[in-house]
C-alpha cells in the first residue's frame, strides 16, 4: 500500500481542477490501482459562528447559543465553558453522524429546543476523549474560517489521500510523488514540473573533508554531500502534515527531510552525523560474523551477503536497511553527511529478509532506483536543509558511479500494436500515447523507436510498449471476438476423466464429496498405516497442524466425521478424491470413502439401511462394475492394517493386484461403527478395461438349485464359492448367497451359508437328470474337500 497526498501531488502536476474521485477512477482504469480515496468530509458538519450566548433558564452550566451556519441561524444548547461571542466553531447540524454512529437529532434540553451540536475535537474522533481534552471545551477555528464550509479545511485535514494498491512492476516508479505525478500526467495529458533543487553552497568543499571508497560491485552508485551547522527543530507544517498524511511519523526537521525526499523522489537518503562519522566512508561487503548495533538498539550479526557502510574500520550502517546507532542524527547533531546511493536490489532483499527488517527504504532499494533521481535527490536535500534547517551547504558532491547509462531503446510497429491488442489504432493515436507517457520517440514509417525513461524500470521490450500504449488508449475500445480455431470438443486428459466418472457414480450412490486440506499434522499422518511410504514434511511450516503433505486422505475424512458428529449430524457418507504425495515427489491419486450411521432411512416408517461393511463393499463393487472391472476384483481379509478392525477389514485386488483397502475403523480410534475405504486410482487405471459389447441373452432355460452348507465360523464364503465353481464346471452360470444362519442344528462355532446355484448352457436345454447329477456331485465334492456338511 502506498499513500499519495493529492495536495503534494499538485506540486508536480496540476490537478487543482480535477474531481479527485473521477481522477482516481481514471488512473485505476489505466493500470495503477487507486484502491481507496480518503477524504475528510462529513455531511452536515460545517463552520459556524456564535452570534449570541444566553444562560439556559433552567440550568446553571448550560448555555443557549444562536449560531450562524450560513443558510440559517440555529439555536443550540451547549455545556462548554469556553464559549465566546463571534467565536468560529465546528457545528454538527441535524442529520450529521459523528464517530460511534452518533446521529445529531433535533432535541429539547430542559425545555429549550436545540438544533445541533458544537463540537470538540474528541467528538470528531481527532483527539482522545480524556478529561484534559474534555476540559478544553469546544474547538475554536481561526477567525477567517468561512462560515458554512468544511471545517476540516481549517484542521490541516483538507488533503485527499489516494491509497495505491501497487502491482510489483510499478513499485519502483509509483512509490513516490514525482513518479506518480508522471502517471497522473500521462492519464490527463499534462506536463510534470520538477521541484527546486538549487541551494547556495559555501566555498568549503566536501572533498576536503570526506573521502569515499566503494570496494564492492553491489553498490553501483554512491553520492555524498555535506552540510554544516544545522539547527534541529520541528519541521514546518507542510512537511509534518504531508509525512503524517502519507503514514510517516514526524521526528525533527532534519530526519523529516530525508523521509520527505524519499516520498518525493523514491530515493532513500541516509544522514550521518558527520562528527561521529569521521572523514572516511568505505562501502564493502560485511565480513561473516561482523557485528553492528542498529538505530533500534539491537545488535545484529552480519554475513558476507550484506553490504555495509563503514568508517574505514567498523560498520556504521547496514546499507539500504538500517543505520547504526553510532553514527545517526541526534538532537545535538551539527554537521550532516548525506548519502544518496544505489545498492544491488537482490542484496537488500536478502539482507532485509534475513534480518526481518523491512522498511520504507529497503522496499524502494529492492525495486530498483533511477540513477537520475539519486543525483537530484541529494541536491534537493541540500536545498531543503538550507531552507528549513538553516544548514550551510558545502560545495561539490563526492560521486562514485559505475552505473551503465546506455539509453534503453525499444522498437514497435503500429501493426504489431494492433495485432496484439486486437485494436485499430492510427499512427496519431500511438503518438499521442507516447507523448502523454513522456517517452521520447522517433517515428520511421510505421515504426516507433522509443527511448524508455529511467524512471520506468518495468518497461524494456516491445510488448511492454504495447501494453503502455494499450492501457493509455483504453482497453474499452477493444471489440470482443472469438478466436477463429477449428471446432472440436475438448477432452479430459490423463486421469481426470476417470476421476469424473468415479465422482458421478459415488454421488448417485448418495455419497457427498468433501474437500479437505492437503497439509496435515504429524498425528494425522501417523494414522492408518496402509501402504506407508516416506512422508514429505514442509521445510518451514506455519504451524504443526499443517506441516506434512498427506499420503492418505482417510485421516482427513475422519476429521470431517468428527466435525459433523459434533454438530449432531448422524448419517455421514462422504468421499474425496485427491492427489497425495510421498517419497520426495511421488504422486498418487487416491479415492477415500467414509460411511457411518444410516445409508437410507425413513424414520416414521421404520425403514432403515444401517451402514456396515457390506454396504461399503456393495458401493465399491457397484463402482468397479460401473467402471468396467466386473468379475476382475476380489476382497481378501486383512488384519494387519493399523487403526483398522482386524476382523472387519479387507484389501481389494483388481486382477490380483492390490489397489487399496476397506473395513471398519478400529474401535480404539472410533467407538461408533465407522467404515472407510481408500484405493489408488492410479493403480486402478493401470488395469485397462475393454469397451462395452452387447451380449445376447441365453435362449435356453436355466435350472436353479439351492444348498446350505454348515461350516466352521472362520471359514470364508469365498473359499466355499471357489470350490463350488471348481466342482460345477462351465454349466454353472451364477452363485448367489441367499441366507447366512446361526442357531438350531448349527453348533456354537459354526455357521450355515445357503447358496443358490444357476445352471445353464448356451447351446441346448439341460435335462433335470443331468443337473441333479451334477448338483449332487458338487455337494459331495465340496463337503469332502472342505469338510462341510449340508444343513437340512
Amino acid at each position: 500500500m502506498m499513500r499519495i497526498s493529492t495536495s503534494w501531488l499538485n506540486d508536480y502536476v496540476d490537478i487543482s481542477d480535477e474531481n479527485l474521485r473521477e481522477l482516481a477512477d481514471k488512473i485505476t482504469n489505466a493500470g495503477v490501482n487507486v484502491e481507496t480515496v480518503e477524504e475528510y468530509n462529513t455531511p452536515n458538519l460545517v463552520v459556524g459562528q456564535i452570534l449570541e450566548i444566553e444562560d439556559h433558564p433552567d440550568s446553571d452550566h448550560l448555555h443557549v447559543c444562536k449560531v450562524d451556519v450560513k443558510d440559517e441561524v440555529l439555536q443550540v444548547v451547549c455545556g462548554a465553558q469556553n464559549l465566546k461571542k463571534n467565536m468560529m466553531v465546528i457545528v454538527s447540524k441535524v442529520g450529521c453522524v459523528l464517530p460511534g454512529d452518533f446521529e445529531i437529532k433535533k432535541s429539547t434540553i430542559r425545555g429549550v429546543e436545540s438544533c445541533g451540536m458544537l463540537c470538540a475535537l474528541s467528538e470528531l474522533g481527532l483527539e482522545e476523549d480524556t478529561p484534559e481534552n474534555h476540559a478544553k471545551g469546544i474547538h475554536e477555528l481561526p477567525a477567517d474560517a468561512l462560515i458554512g464550509t468544511n471545517p476540516y479545511n481549517y484542521l490541516g485535514l483538507d488533503d485527499v489521500i489516494f491509497n495505491l494498491d501497487l502491482n510489483p512492476n510499478r513499485e519502483a516508479d509509483c512509490t513516490n510523488h514525482i513518479g506518480f505525478a508522471y502517471e497522473t500526467a500521462s492519464v490527463l495529458g499534462k506536463g510534470v514540473e520538477m521541484p527546486e533543487i538549487k541551494s547556495h553552497p559555501i566555498d568549503d568543499s566536501v572533498k576536503d573533508e570526506l573521502e569515499v571508497d566503494v570496494i564492492t560491485d553491489n553498490c553501483p552508485m554512491y553520492n555524498a554531500r555535506k552540510v554544516k551547522n544545522v539547527v534541529i527543530k520541528e519541521s514546518p507544517d507542510f512537511i509534518r502534515e504531508r509525512l503524517t498524511n502519507c503514514g510517516m511519523r514526524s521526528i525533527n526537521n532534519v530526519v523529516d527531510i530525508s523521509n520527505y525526499i524519499m516520498l518525493e523522489y523514491g530515493q532513500p537518503l541516509h544522514f550521518f552525523d558527520a562528527d561521529k562519522l569521521g572523514q572516511t566512508i568505505l562501502v564493502r561487503m560485511a565480513e561473516k560474523g561482523e557485528k553492528i548495533v542498529t538505530l533500534d538498539g539491537v545488535e545484529r550479526s552480519l554475513t558476507g551477503e550484506d553490504i555495509v557502510i563503514t568508517d574505514g574500520v567498523k560498520p556504521i550502517c547496514i546499507a539500504g536497511v538500517m543505520g547504526g546507532a553510532n553514527s545517526g542524527i541526534d538532537d545535538n547533531t551539527k554537521n550532516v553527511v548525506i548519502e544518496s546511493a544505489i545498492f544491488e536490489p537482490l542484496c537488500i532483499r536478502y539482507t532485509s529478509k534475513r534480518l526481518d527488517l523491512k522498511s520504507e527504504a529497503s522496499r524502494r532499494y529492492e525495486h530498483g532506483l533511477n540513477y537520475e533521481y539519486t543525483m537530484e535527490a541529494i541536491d534537493r536535500a541540500c536545498y531543503l536543509l538550507e531552507k528549513y534547517a538553516d544548514a550551510e551547504v558545502l560545495s561539490d558532491t563526492i560521486t562514485y558511479d559505475i552505473v551503465d547509462k546506455t539509453p534503453k531503446i525499444a522498437e514497435v510497429t503500429l501493426s504489431e500494436i494492433n495485432t496484439l491488442l486486437g485494436l485499430d489504432m492510427t499512427l496519431d493515436d500511438v503518438e499521442d500515447a507516447f507523448i502523454n507517457l513522456q517517452f521520447p520517440f522517433e517515428v520511421k514509417g510505421e515504426k516507433f523507436i522509443v527511448t524508455i525513461p529511467n524512471r520506468r524500470n518495468d518497461v524494456s521490450i516491445k510488448e511492454d510498449l504495447i501494453e503502455e500504449v494499450g492501457r493509455l488508449y483504453g482497453y474499452q475500445h477493444i471489440t470482443s471476438k472469438m478466436p477463429s480455431l477449428a471446432i472440436k470438443r475438448g477432452e479430459y486428459v490423463g486421469l481426470v476423466g476417470l476421476r469424473k466418472s468415479i465422482s458421478k457414480r459415488l454421488r448417485s450412490l448418495s455419497l457427498n464429496e468433501t474437500r479437505t486440506y492437503t497439509l496435515i499434522s504429524p498425528e494425522m499422518d501417523s494414522k492408518f498405516g496402509y501402504d506407508r511410504k516416506m512422508s514429505i514434511p514442509l521445510l518451514r511450516p506455519m504451524s504443526s497442524d499443517k506441516s506434512i503433505v498427506r499420503q492418505s486422505i482417510v485421516a482427513s475424512l475422519l476429521g470431517v466425521y468428527e466435525y459433523n458428529v459434533a454438530r449432531k449430524v448422524k448419517d455421514i457418507n462422504v468421499y474425496e478424491i485427491a492427489n497425495v504425495y510421498s517419497n520426495v515427489d511421488e504422486e498418487d491419486t487416491k479415492l477415500a470413502i467414509l460411511m457411518s450411521g444410516d445409508y437410507i432411512s425413513n424414520v416414521w416408517q421404520g425403514v432403515k439401511v444401517k451402514v456396515d461393511f457390506y454396504v461399503l463393499k456393495g458401493i465399491v463393487s457397484n463402482l468397479l462394475d460401473y467402471l468396467g472391472y466386473q468379475g476382475r476384483y476380489s476382497f481378501v481379509p486383512s488384519s494387519e492394517i493399523s487403526d483398522m478392525h482386524p476382523g472387519a477389514t479387507a484389501v481389494i485386488n483388481v486382477d490380483n493386484r492390490e489397489i487399496g483397502f476397506l473395513g471398519r475403523v478400529h474401535p480404539s480410534v472410533c467407538k461408533k461403527e465407522v467404515y472407510v475405504l481408500e484405493i489408488s486410482i492410479m493403480k486402478l487405471a493401470d488395469k485397462k478395461t475393454r469397451p462395452f459389447k452387447f451380449k445376447e441373452l441365453n435362449r435356453y432355460p436355466s435350472i436353479v438349485k439351492d444348498v446350505a452348507f454348515v461350516m466352521e465360523d472362520k471359514m470364508s464364503s469365498s473359499e466355499v464359492e471357489k470350490e463350488i465353481r471348481r466342482a460345477s464346471g462351465k454349466l454353472l452360470s451364477k452363485i448367489e448367497v441367499f441366507d447366512v444362519y446361526k442357531g438350531e442344528n448349527v453348533k456354537e462355532d459354526e455357521k450355515s451359508i445357503a447358496y443358490s446355484l444357476t445352471f445353464e448352457d448356451e447351446t441346448r436345454t439341460l435335462t433335470t437328470e443331468e443337473v441333479n447329477d451334477l448338483f449332487n456331485k458338487v455337494i459331495d465334492e465340496v463337503c469332502a474337500k472342505l469338510k462341510l456338511r449340508i444343513r437340512n
Binding site: P168, P483, K488, V493, T518, R540, P541, V569
Partner: protein
C-alpha cells in the same frame, strides 16, 4: 298371466332392494333366473296355450327375462362399485407425511463450480489438463519469468519442501508450462487447468493457505487481446447472467504482457454500487493477459510466429460471489448440513 308377470317383477324389485352383497345377489338371481327359477318356470306354462296366445306369451316371457337380467346386472354393478369404494376408503393414506429420503450425494461447492466451468470450456474445445501439486521451482516460477529474487515472488509466499527446488505449487500456471514443453512448440494449445494451490497465508474469512485456481491457455497464430475479451465475455455471461458487462483493467503478471484484470459489472446492484462491488459497480473476478514472449520462448514457442492468451480465476472467489458464501473456510469445513442437492451447485 300379465298379472302374474307383474307380480314377479314387483317381487324381484323388492328383493333386490333389500340386498347389499354379491352372495345375496347370487341367491336372488338363482331364485328368479336359475334353472328352476320363478321366471324360468313360467315358460313351462307355454305348452297349455293356443298358438295365438303362445306368440303373445313368448313375447311377454322375453320381456320379463330381459327386464330381470338388466335389473340384476344393474344391482351387481352397484354392489361392485360399493365394494370398490369401501376398499379405496380403507386404503386411504396421509399424503402429507414425509417421503422416504433417497438423496444423491452433492459435489463439494468448489468442485461443482469447476465442473460447471469445465463443461463450458470442453464445449469451446479446451482440454482439461491437470498437473502435480508438488512442483519444481523451475516450473512454478523460473520458466514463468519469475527468476529467483524477483519481487513478484513476494506476492506468492510459497511452501517449500526442498530449498529452491521443490515446493507446493503457488499457482496452476506450471501446468501451462508443462503442456507447452510437452508440445515442443509444434502445435496450437487450448487447455484449462483447474487445481489446488498453496500459499503461506493464515486462514481467515478471506484467506486460505490452500485454495483453488482455474487457469486457461490458448496459443495459436494471430491471437489478440480481442480474442481474450470475447472468450471472457462468454465465461462472464455463463457465470453471472446474460446481462453482465465486462471490462479489462490494466494490471501486471510476470508471465503475461500486456496483463489485465477481468472485471464484470456488479450483478448484485447492476452497476449502481453496493457492498459487494465496494461501490465501484465492478467486481474483479480474475486476471489474464497475452502470454509473455519470454514464457513462449522458454517453452519452445517462437513469439514472432505465435501468440496466446492466458487467464486465471480463483475458484473460491467465484463460488463466494456466485453462491453468496462469505467465509472461505466454509468450503473446507465440509459441514454436511450445508449440502444442497441442487443441480446448479
Amino acid at each position: 298371466m300379465n298379472e302374474k308377470v307383474e307380480t314377479l317383477k314387483k317381487e324381484l324389485k323388492e328383493k333386490l332392494e333389500k340386498i347389499s352383497s354379491l352372495a345375496e345377489l347370487g341367491a336372488v338371481k338363482a331364485e328368479f333366473l336359475g334353472k328352476k327359477g320363478k321366471i324360468t318356470e313360467l315358460s313351462s306354462m307355454i305348452k297349455d296355450l293356443s298358438p295365438m296366445e303362445k306368440k303373445d306369451f313368448g313375447k311377454l316371457l322375453n320381456e320379463i327375462k330381459t327386464f330381470a337380467e338388466d335389473l340384476v346386472q344393474e344391482k351387481q354393478e352397484l354392489i361392485e362399485t360399493m365394494i370398490m369404494n369401501d376398499k379405496l376408503e380403507s386404503e386411504r393414506i396421509d399424503v402429507t407425511l414425509p417421503g422416504t429420503t433417497i438423496k444423491c450425494g452433492s459435489p463439494n461447492m468448489l468442485e461443482g463450480m469447476i465442473e460447471d466451468l469445465e463443461e463450458l470450456f470442453l464445449n469451446m474445445g479446451y482440454d482439461v489438463v491437470e498437473g502435480p501439486e508438488v512442483e519444481k521451482d523451475l516450473y512454478n516460477f523460473e520458466l514463468l519469468n519469475l527468476p529467483k529474487g524477483h519481487p513478484a515472488r513476494d506476492a506468492q509466499d510459497t511452501f517449500y519442501l526442498k530449498d529452491d527446488e521443490l515446493l507446493l505449487r503457488s499457482q496452476t500456471s506450471p501446468v501451462q508450462i508443462r503442456t507447452m514443453l510437452a508440445n515442443e512448440g509444434k502445435s496450437h494449445i487450448r487447455i484449462i487447468c483447474p487445481g489446488k494451490t498453496y500459499r503461506r497465508d493464515d486462514d481467515d474469512a478471506t484467506h486460505s493457505h490452500q485454495f483453488t485456481q482455474m487457469e486457461g491457455l490458448l496459443i495459436d497464430e494471430g491471437i489478440s487481446l480481442a480474442d481474450l475479451k470475447g472468450t471472457f465475455d462468454v465465461i462472464a455471461k455463463h457465470l453471472f447472467g446474460q446481462d453482465v458487462e465486462t471490462r479489462f483493467r490494466s494490471s501486471f503478471y510476470p508471465f503475461t504482457e500486456p496483463s489485465v484484470e477481468l472485471d464484470v459489472s456488479c450483478f448484485n446492484c447492476g452497476n449502481k454500487g453496493c457492498s459487494i462491488c465496494k461501490n465501484t459497480g465492478w467486481i474483479t473476478v480474475g486476471g489474464a493477459g497475452m502470454v509473455h514472449p519470454k514464457v513462449l520462448a522458454n517453452c519452445g514457442y517462437d513469439p514472432e510466429k505465435v501468440s496466446g492468451f492466458a487467464f486465471g480465476f480463483g475458484v473460491e472467489r467465484l463460488a463466494m460471489l456466485k453462491y453468496g458464501v462469505t467465509d472461505v473456510r466454509t468450503f473446507y469445513l465440509n459441514d454436511l448440513r450445508n449440502n444442497s442437492d441442487r443441480k446448479d451447485v
